[in-house]
């Protein structure tokens, strides 16, 4: 799957879940490329902005879309890496604020 196909597939499936791609298209494509690189490197699409360890089971919480996307979008209007924004942020074209890390620190190895 090339990047454009990945973009189209995710846009369709994720918008149904209330998660919209960031309006910053360059950022979105940079992150999608990183997700594909992580898939090649680790075998799974680990969040590009988090330290993956190479063990799918250990990192299942940060496989995109990560377990933290929903609470982060609810609280901050965007997911941690900024790939997805909430419907409100999308509609109002607000620039999402900095999203602090929610992943438990003991998971980072």
């Amino acid at each position: 799957m090339n990047i454009e196909q990945l973009y189209d597939a995710l846009k369709k499936s994720q918008e149904k879940q209330g998660a919209f791609f960031n309006k910053d298209r360059d950022l979105v494509f940079e992150l999608l490329e990183s997700l594909q690189l992580n898939k090649e490197r680790y075998g799974y699409m680990a969040c590009p902005c988090r330290l993956a360890c190479g063990d799918r089971e250990h990192d299942k919480d940060i496989i995109c879309p990560c377990d933290y996307r929903k609470p982060d979008m609810e609280e901050f209007g965007a997911c941690y890496c900024g790939l997805y924004v909430s419907e409100k942020v999308n509609n109002l074209e607000i620039v999402p604020e900095h999203v602090p890390e929610r992943r438990p620190v003991e998971k980072i190895i």
Binding site: L27, E30, L31, S34, L37, N38, P48, C49, R50, L51, A52, C81, G82, H98, P100, E101, V105, I108, I109
Partner: protein, 87 residues
């Protein structure tokens, strides 16, 4: 010219890290960069321990300026302030 000693802990795939590094490059500010996802074994463990001491959440980028100021994330205004960049 900034004479700060800067150390950036980042990830090769992280957009926040790339954006923060671009800011340093824009102002020709030198910094030491540790690409944590490239590290393995004991070296990786030691660096993660080092980051956790600076930033208990161990998130990226973690930026250390002059051994006293720690900036977590791509907070461009905080970075500029710490470096004395006014524009």
């Amino acid at each position: 010219m900034c004479t700060c000693i800067i150390k950036v802990y980042g990830l090769s795939s992280c957009s926040h890290c790339k954006a923060a590094r671009k800011l340093f490059d824009k102002y020709n500010i030198e910094y030491e960069y540790v690409q944590v996802d490239d590290l393995k074994g004991d070296e990786r463990k030691a660096v993660i321990k080092e980051i956790k001491e600076l930033n208990p959440r161990c998130s990226f980028p973690t930026i250390e300026i002059n051994k006293e100021t720690i900036i977590v994330g791509n907070k461009q205004n905080d970075i500029k302030k710490a470096l004395g960049i006014k524009k």
